[in-house]
């Protein structure tokens, strides 16, 4: 088709091929899935594999996750990497609560998913007893490829909206409800006291 020769002649109709239309919701989900930052919650040996996944060979930066934010306010995905002890459980819940919606949790490794090899009094048998988990990555530790597969599964779930649909169905997530309430309007005339 080529460039528009003269907007004045064809008007906006001549500019069809220079536009892409999409729903805002799709754009938002597309952006969220490609730039989600992880909250570093590396607890034990799985943390080493998570660091290895973020390093240069198995680069996480190609999926937009190069930064692991220490502050939960700035993080989207919490990757629970390692065993959670009874003493650490309230800390984990507090960090999860401090994250802003929308937030997701990947349970990395068998210890976070189910207590792993530590079936005893000291280790919480699965971090889903404390926080709602979206994707489980098995392994002891999961290889970087497994973790990347888990992250990409989560990204796919974010992008096609499946997770948000599931959340409303399960009543999961933070339960943030956006309802429109009637606002009382008080008209103000500018310039008068």
């Amino acid at each position: 088709m080529g460039a528009v020769q003269n907007i004045a002649d064809d008007g906006l109709g001549g500019m069809d091929h220079n536009f892409v239309t999409a729903r805002i919701e799709d754009l938002v989900k597309w952006a969220r899935s490609r730039s989600s930052w992880g909250a570093s919650f590396g607890l034990a040996c799985c943390a080493i594999e998570m660091m290895g996944t973020g390093a240069s060979h198995y680069d996480l930066s190609r999926f937009g996750m190069e930064v692991f934010r220490a502050s939960p306010r700035q993080a989207d995905i919490m990757i629970v990497a390692g065993r959670v002890s009874q003493k650490m459980a309230p800390v984990l819940r507090q960090v999860y609560d401090q994250m802003m919606e929308p937030k997701w949790v990947i349970s990395m490794g068998v210890c976070a998913s189910s207590g792993g090899m530590f079936n005893n009094y000291a280790i919480v048998q699965g971090v889903d007893q404390i926080v709602p988990v979206d994707v489980y990555a098995p392994g002891c530790p999961p290889t970087p490829e497994t973790l990347i597969h888990a992250i990409e599964t989560l990204h796919q779930l974010i992008e096609d909206g499946e997770i948000m649909r599931r959340r409303t169905a399960n009543n999961g997530g933070a339960g943030v409800e956006l309802s429109s309430e009637p606002v009382e309007h008080t008209s103000v005339t500018i310039g008068t006291k």
């Binding site: 009874q86 003493k87 079936n119 005893n120 009094y121 000291a122």
Partner: protein, 160 residues
């Protein structure tokens, strides 16, 4: 009867596979460790507890009455390059011992761990609280009568 038992600071000495072990009573405990520290055993390497619940009829010898708990202290002399071990019997009904914090401040964490895991209270310790388990935990996990706390798990493909 010839008494050929070697004693050091008034405590019987045992040779355990080439290692020197002192059997100390609770009253002499701190003074012996202080004397050993003056002698040259500057470093307290470890302080831990043992629960002999499943071995009630064990014998130590040297006329020492075996109790349920034992506190084992390992000392190291860096200047003279030798090690020594002390074993103190602690009865179950009165599970307490004076603290070594004044002689070896590094035992602060070890004594907290021994309290957390066995329930042996160290009197005079600056902060006698749990260190590994949450503060409001019930029970002392490394005692022999404390269960493992495992949940039943079904493995697919297993015979049972």
């Amino acid at each position: 009867m010839e008494n050929a038992v070697e004693t050091q600071h008034g405590c019987p000495v045992q040779d355990s596979l080439g290692q020197r072990v002192l059997h100390v009573s609770r009253d002499q405990y701190v003074s012996v460790i202080k004397a050993l520290a003056d002698e040259g055993y500057e470093m307290c390497v470890d302080l831990t507890g043992v629960d002999y619940l499943e071995m009630p009829h064990r014998t130590i010898g040297f006329g020492i009455k075996p109790e349920r708990f034992e506190v084992v202290v390992n000392l190291l002399s860096l200047s003279q390059r030798k090690r020594i071990r002390l074993r103190v019997q602690v009865p179950a009904d009165d599970a307490s011992l004076p603290t070594l914090f004044d002689v070896h401040p590094g035992t602060e964490a070890h004594e907290r761990e021994t309290f957390d895991m066995f329930g042996i209270v160290f009197s005079g310790h600056p902060d006698m609280t749990r260190i590994l388990m949450p503060e409001d935990w019930d029970g002392h996990p490394l005692r022999k009568d404390y269960s493992q706390g495992s949940i039943p798990v079904q493995f697919k493909g297993a015979n049972s």
